[in-house]
C-alpha cells in the first residue's frame, strides 16, 4: 500500500503507523463515563470507505486522516490532522 502524504508525497506503507477510525471524537471533560466508553471501545468497523488516523512516523511525523476503503484498500483522500504543522486553529 502507498499513502500520499499531503506534505511528503506518495510513500510506502511501512513509513506509517495506524491508529484506527478517525470518526470518534474525544468527549468533553464532563461528557460522562458512557460517552468515553463509547469513544474508547465501540467501533463502526466500517466495511467500505472509512476515515482513519495514520501517523507518518517514518517521515514527517504528521498525523493524517486517510480515507480508505477497507474492502479494497483503495485510498481516496488524505488530509493532514487539524494540528499538523503550524496551521492556525481557533482557540
Amino acid at each position: 500500500m502507498r499513502i500520499t502524504c499531503p506534505f511528503c508525497g506518495e510513500r510506502e506503507l511501512s513509513e506509517f503507523s495506524y491508529l484506527g477510525d478517525a470518526k470518534p471524537v474525544r468527549p468533553a471533560a464532563d461528557a460522562g463515563e458512557e460517552a468515553v466508553y463509547d469513544y474508547v471501545y465501540l467501533r463502526d468497523n466500517v466495511a467500505g470507505v472509512m476515515a482513519e488516523n495514520w501517523y507518518h512516523g517514518g517521515g514527517c511525523r504528521a498525523w493524517l486522516e486517510v480515507t480508505r476503503n477497507t474492502l479494497t484498500h483503495e485510498i481516496s483522500a488524505v488530509e493532514p490532522a487539524a494540528g499538523a504543522g503550524a496551521r492556525q486553529v481557533a482557540k
Partner: protein, 993 residues
Amino acid sequence: MSSSQSHRLTSGGLIDRSAPLNFRFDGKTFSGFQGDTLASALVANGVKLVGRSFKYHRPRGILTAGSEEPNALVELRTGARREANTKATTAELYEGLEAASQNRWPSLRHDVMSVNQLFAPIFVAGFYYKTFMWPAKFWEMIYEPAIRRAAGLGRAAQLPDPDHYDKAWAHCDVVIAGSGPAGLAAALAAGRSGARVILCEEDFVPGGRLLSDGGTIDGLPAADWLARTLAELASMPDVRMMTRTTLFGVYDGGTYGAIERVNDHLPVPPEHQVRQRLWRIVAKRCVVAAGAIERPIVFAGNDTPDVMMASAMRTYVARYAATPAKRPALFTNNEDGWRTVETALAAGLQIAAVIDARGDVSPAHRSLASKNGFTVLHGSVSGVDGGKDGVRKISVSLAGGARAEVEADGLAVSGGWNPAVGLTSYHRGRPKWRDDIAAFVPDGAPPGMVAAGAANGAFGLGACLREGFEAGAVAARDAGRNGNTGAAPTASDEALSLTPLWHVAGKGKAFVDQQHDVTASDIELAQREGFESVEHLKRYTTLGMATDQGKTSNVAGLAIMAAVSGKSIPETGTTIYRPPYVPVAIGAFAGHHRDEAFHATRLTPSHHWAAEQGAIFVDTGLWKRAQWYPRAGEKDWLESVTREVKAVRSGVGFCDVSTLGKIDVHGPDAGAFLDRVYINTFSNLTVGKARYGLMLREDGLVYDDGTTSRLAEDHYFLTTTTAKAGLVMQHLEFCRQVLFPELDVQLTSVSDQWAQFSIAGPKTRDLLKEIVDPAEDLSNEGFPFMGAREVALRGGIKARLFRISFSGEMAFEISVPARYGEAMARNLMIAGKPFGVTPYGTEALGVMRVEKGHVAGPELSGTTTAADLGLGKMMSSKKDFIGRVMAGREALVAPDRQVAVGIKPVDKARRLRSGAHIIPKGQTPGPDNDQGYVTSVCFSPTLDQWIGLALVERGRERIGEIVHAHDPLRGEDYDVELCNPVFYDPDGGRQRG
C-alpha cells in the same frame, strides 16, 4: 567422463555448442551446453525418469518446459545450498551442477515407497480422514510419523543458508510481466511513448514463445524481429529489461513483487553478490503478458514419463535441439498441437501418429501426414503402455468406438491453452469463462493492471502483438506519457479450432494433478461425498496445492467436477488465486535482515568506552546496554553486580542512561499540554525544577512514566522509559495534532542529541565538583532535590544537570551533547577516581530501583492502574487528562485488585524468582487462590538477601502477612513476607541530603 548427448540434434537450437557443461544427476555425470536448462540437458541425454510423485511414488518424467512443471522436481546443489523441489525445467545448467531426484528410497529406479501404489485402492482422496483414529495415542506415535516421512518431497538443507539476499525498490510508469510477443510489443509502445518501463522475464532469455515457435513478424523471421526489438528497447534509457525475474504478486497501491534470480545460474554467487534479489516495483500501470499454459488431457497412464505437453516437446526440439522422443505421437484437440508435428518433422524426427479428438482435420494436415508417412486417428488416447523408461504403446479409442494401438516412444499432448490468470486474480478478481477458447480469461484485475496477448486469451501471434502494443500504449498514456508510439508490429494469426476435451474414460489411473496424485476418480469421489464447492474439492483432494499450484491441473479438475455434478464449468467456478505466482525463497523475502542484521542495533554514546571496560551488553529493545562490568576474579554476574551496587551505595557510580526517550516540549502552551497527557500537573512546575510524571492510556491504565523538567517558561524537557520512547512520541504527537490542535506546542525528539548519565551515591557531589565549573552552586540549597538547569563543565562544555534519583541515593543525571558522551564517561572516571567511582550497568540499576521500590517495565505491564502501583494520589482531580474517566471504572477501582507490594523470603537465604505466584499460606494452589505474582526480584547487597516486588491482591493491606510463593515450573515453593515495597531509605533522606 560424460555420457554422450544421445538425444541432441546435431544442429539448431539456442544452445551454445562451444560451451559444453558437465553436470551430475543422481550421481551420474552428463554433459549439456550453455543455454540448456537441467530439463533440456536431461532430455538431450535421453533421461526419461526424473522424479517420483507425492503419494503413490509413481515414476515421473518431464511434462513441461516451464515454471508450471509438476513432475520434474529435483534437489539442486548439495549441503547447505541444497534446494528441494527445484523445477528442472527452469534450472539453468551450469558447470558442475549437481542434482538429485527426490521422494524416493533407496533409488529413483527402485523406490520402496512405490509399494504405495498397491494400496492405491484404499489411498483415495481423503482416506486419512476416515481412519487412523484408534487408538487415539497411535496418531502421534505411529501413523503421523509414518505419513510425514512418506509425504513431503525434497529434503531442505539442514545448515544455515550460506548465500546472501537483498531487496530493492524500482519505480516505473509501466511494468510488464513477460517478454513474449505481447510483452515486447507492450514495451515497444510504452517505451516509444517515453514511459519508464520495466519488463520482467522469468526466463534467462527474452522472447517467450518466439524462442520455440518462431513465426514471421513484420516480414522478418521471429528471431530477427526479436533481435531488432531487443536492440531498440536497449537503446531506450528508461526501459529496463530484467531477465531471470518473475513478477509474482500484486499488492496495494501499484506495488508489485518480483524475484530476480541474480546468480542461480552459477555454482555460487560471486563474492559480494547476492543469490537472489526481491524487487518491490512501484508502477503506475501493469501489463500482464505472461502468456498461457498448455493444458493436459486426463487419460489413463497420462503420467508416464515422456508423455509431454505438445508445446514443451517443440520447445525441447526447437530451442534446445533436444529430442524427448525419436518417434512421438501427438494427441490433440486443437490446431495448435499440430505445430509440434511440424517442428518435429523439421528436425528430422518421425511421427508415430496423430490422434486428433476433433471430428475433422484440415486437408493441409492430411497431406502432411501422408507425405511424412504417419496416420491421423480420430479419437482419444485411452491408455499408455510404458513405465519408468517411457512410452511404448498408446491405446486409442477411435471416434466410431473401435480401438487402435500406436507404437511410439513419446506422446505430445495438447488440450488447449489456459491464460495465466494468476496476477490478474490476486485481488480476488474471478476470471470469466470464454466458450470460444474453452478457457478462463482475466476479469476484475487490480486497478491499473491489464492483460494482453495469450494471458488475455488472444493466442494468435498477430493478436498477441496487437493487444500487447495497444496495452503498452494505453498504459503509457494513462501514466502521462504521450510520445509517438510508431507502428505496431504485425503478424498473421494462427487458428486454434479447439474442441474441448478434458477427460478420456479408460482403465487405470488418470491423473489430474500429477504431483499430488489426484486422479479423475478422486474428483468423482469428492463430488459423491459432497465436496462439490471448488474450494472443498481442492482441500479434500489437494488438487492444485502442489508446488505448481495447479497450473496444469486446476481447470481440468474443475471441468471434471462440472461434468460429474451436472453443472457448467463457469457455474462450478475457480478457486481463489493466491500469490506468489511461482514459489519464492524465504531468504529472498528476508533479504539483508538475518543473523546480527535482523534488526537495527542502537549504540549508546559511551558504548565503545564501555566495551573497552569489558562490559557485558544486554539487548534492550534495539539497544545494546552495558549490563554489568565484570572485573578479574569475579566468579559470576551476581558478584559483579553486588560490587557495583555497594560501590554506589557507599561511594559513587555512574551509568549511561541515554536510552531514555527525551523530548523537547516547546511553546507557550507546553505546560497546558503536559497537564493533559500526564495525570499530575506540570503547568505549575517552577522553571529549573523537575517532576516525576505518570501517563495513562485513554483506557485508564498506566502507559509510561518519567521525569520532566522545566528549562524555560516555554520549554520542558520530557523523558520516557527506554521501551516506550518511540511510542510515547507518537502518542504525544497524536495528542498535539489530533486531540488538542488548539494548543501551541512543538515536540522534537532529542533522544539522540544528549548523552545522559546517572551519577549516584553519597560522593556524587564530590565527583561533580571536580567536573562542573566551580562557579556552579551544587549545594543542597543551590541545587536542591528535583532541581534542573544548565551548567558549565570544566573545559567549557555546557551540560544539563538534573537532581533526580532512581537509586534512592544522592544522585544527579547529567546530559552532554552526544558526541561528548564517550569523553564524558572517561572524564567521570578521572573526576571520580579519588572517590572510587564505579561504572555500573543495567543490572545494578535494576537492583537499586527494586531496593527503592520504584516501578519499571514488569510493573508497567499495561494492565496496572496508577493506584495499583501506589501512585493513585498523583491523579489530579482538578483537570481533565488522558485516561481520567476510564480509570474510574468499577473493576479498575475494585478493592481486591492486585497491587504492587514488596516481598522478602522468610528464609533469608532463599533466592526469589520472578514469575512465581502468590498463594495464601496453608492453601493448596489453584485457580481460585492464585492471588498474584512476583514481578521483579534482585539480590539486595544492601539488605544482604533477595527481595522483590509483586502484584498481590489487596497487597498493601496485607503487609506483614506470610504468603506462599509457588513456582511449579521451577519446582520451587517457599514462604515470603509481604512488605513495604520501599526497602531502602523509605523516608528518602539520602536522595534529598
